[in-house]
């Protein structure tokens, strides 16, 4: 199902015209109302009149998370405080939170985006939504809440935690759509199993999962354990919150609501745009936001985009799964290498344990990279040739993804450290010199 046919299936030419028109308006507005952007644009010698189509977006300055922090809390607000009706904030790992403000129109547009998501998943008026994202400063709970109400569904504003109560209401109220983080969904699924609740006694049909990265394996596991169809919802509070993007029934990438948030993919090193299908950093520009519109906001998320029309009929661009963070990028002999690309190859091969190390050094002025992996015990054989063949297989798979040859070293089991949190995987010795 499609919530807003005219926006979601508009021809690309029409959409580009609309984006160009909206971009011009937003640039005009921030230039006149937000000193931060006036200064940035003046430095680049760009005036609002230079923006005549969406292609002119490349003339505009980028915005980073640091810019948001430096202008904490309301320095990037583009309207008077009296016009701000909602404030959300995301807690940074360090220092002060990142703050965003919404006008009435911003909330309306955000709710529209969420309505598109939920409709795409097949949800509607008859559904009972259990919103188990946190309510509060985090955008997840309230964002999903208003979207679900807008499509006419019944909403249980559960918030996160208190799993026993979650499961009680899920059974008694007949929840059909569950919105939470994928890891919390798995946690609930295991609890359901543990309490021996018959999943057939539940009315669950659809899962709306986001706010953290998850894998296809997790999707399968959640779908099997809960007997539902699990969909990805993408968002980040700086741009709106959940609903920036969503999967359709074709599950062939995440559609981006690009009539509101214009996406670009740029090379994180040169900041130059890359072509469709090429991996780079995702950048968004607000096209309709009033409260705190951002120009070319660098998400640090790595992915690629296609503009081909989807099987579902939507013309909205689709992005691939988020591959990792641009901060992690390595440049090896001039080629951009993301450790997450290597990781996904290793995770895709059952012969190897899901742990690895990447070593980079410079020998005779040439970058050398080596990947260390552990062969799983079941695949260890007494035959040297078979072991060498395993190495070759991994090396060929990595070569086809990165386009450069990377030597592989097979190491002993458990020799690569395991850790609960983020393990250090990359050892770039070039920086030590």
């Amino acid at each position: 199902m499609i919530w807003n046919q005219s926006c979601e299936c508009m021809s690309r030419e029409e959409l580009r015209d609309l984006q160009g028109k909206r971009l011009r308006e937003v640039v005009e507005s921030v230039y006149n109302n937000t000193p931060f952007y006036k200064k940035k644009m003046d430095e680049l010698g760009v005036k609002p009149k230079d923006i005549n189509s969406i292609d002119d977006i490349v003339k505009l300055p980028f915005t980073t998370k640091t810019d948001l922090r430096d202008n904490y809390p309301f320095g990037l607000c583009n309207v008077k405080m009296k016009d701000i009706v909602r404030i959300h904030a995301s807690s940074g790992t360090t220092g002060k939170p990142t703050v965003v403000g919404y006008t009435k129109n911003d909330l309306k547009n955000w709710t529209e985006c969420l309505s598109r998501c939920f409709t795409a998943y097949g949800a509607g008026k008859e559904d009972m939504f259990q919103i188990s994202y946190g309510y509060g400063l985090f955008t997840g709970g309230l964002g999903a809440h208003y979207g679900a109400e807008n499509i006419g569904a019944s909403v249980i504003p559960m918030s996160s935690g208190n799993t026993d109560k979650q499961l009680l209401l899920m059974q008694d109220f007949g929840t059909s759509v569950l919105c939470c983080t994928p890891s919390y969904a798995l946690f609930m699924a295991d609890k359901i199993n543990e309490l021996k609740i018959d999943k057939k006694s539940l009315n669950l049909k659809i899962g709306v999962f986001g706010a953290e990265p998850w894998t296809e394996e997790m999707r399968k596991e959640i779908e099997d354990k809960l007997g539902i169809k699990a969909y990805d919802i993408y968002g980040l509070s700086e741009i709106a919150g959940p609903g920036v993007g969503f999967e359709c029934e074709s599950q062939a990438g995440t559609h981006l609501n690009e009539d509101h948030f214009y996406p670009e993919i740029v090379d994180p090193a040169t900041l130059q745009p890359v072509t469709d299908g090429e991996c780079g950093e995702l950048v968004f520009t607000h096209l309709t936001k009033e409260g705190m519109p951002l120009l070319r906001y660098r998400t640090k998320d790595l992915t690629s985009i296609t503009h081909e029309t989807c099987d579902c009929g939507r013309t909205l661009a689709r992005m691939e799964k988020i591959l990792g963070r641009s901060d992690d990028m390595l440049i090896i002999r001039g080629v951009n290498v993301f450790p997450s690309q290597i990781e996904s190859v290793i995770l895709g091969m059952e012969e190897f344990a899901p742990h690895y190390k990447i070593f980079v050094e410079r020998v005779n002025n040439l970058d050398q990279m080596e990947v260390w992996v552990e062969v799983r015990e079941e695949y260890f054989t007494d035959e040297l040739e078979k072991m060498l063949a395993l190495k070759k297989k991994l090396s060929a798979a990595i070569h086809s993804v990165l386009g450069i040859a990377v030597p592989i070293k097979l190491v002993e089991p458990m020799s690569i450290e395991r850790s609960e949190g983020k393990a250090k995987r990359v050892f770039d010795k070039r920086k030590l010199k």
């Binding site: 062969v375 015990e377 260890f380 035959e383 040297l384 070293k409 097979l410 190491v411 002993e412 020799s415």
Partner: protein
């Protein structure tokens, strides 16, 4: 006789083989045959020990990856041409040898063979009356 050989994955690091022999020694496990196959940065250590399953568990507990492989153990007289005779017969019967290692002690020579077809190799050697030690005695010299 078909016997069980223990194969251990080893990174090529100084002292790593010693650590295997140390672990086995401390656990009272005696090796009767020993060979190393080497790749560029890792190797496979092949061992004949009295109770390979037990030795595998002991090594695993100490962080080593090991696997058990069937091999043929053959005893020939320690005289010129004795091994050649056995190998000629296997070759003429079309048995391909992936690897082998041998050592002599006194009057006899012990040969460990990993053929492509282990049943057939064992059968052929039996038919030609080669001395294939029984499992209970073959783990010792």
């Amino acid at each position: 006789m078909i016997i069980k050989q223990l194969s251990v994955f080893l990174e090529n690091q100084t002292g790593r083989i010693n650590q295997v022999t140390d672990v086995l020694g401390k656990n009272g496990i005696n090796m009767s045959a020993f060979s190393v196959a080497e790749g560029s940065e890792f190797g496979i250590l092949r061992l004949i020990v009295p109770d390979p399953e037990h030795a595998k568990e002991v090594l695993k507990k100490n962080g080593f990856m090991a696997t058990i492989t069937d091999v043929v153990r053959l005893v020939t007289p320690n005289t010129a041409g004795a091994l050649a005779k056995a190998l000629n017969i296997l070759a003429s019967e079309g048995v391909f040898i992936q690897y082998m290692y041998a050592f002599s002690a006194g009057e006899t020579a012990n040969v460990v063979i990993r053929p492509n077809n282990i049943e057939r190799c064992s059968q052929i050697l039996k038919e030609h009356k080669f001395d294939l030690l029984k499992a209970d005695t073959s783990y010792q010299i």
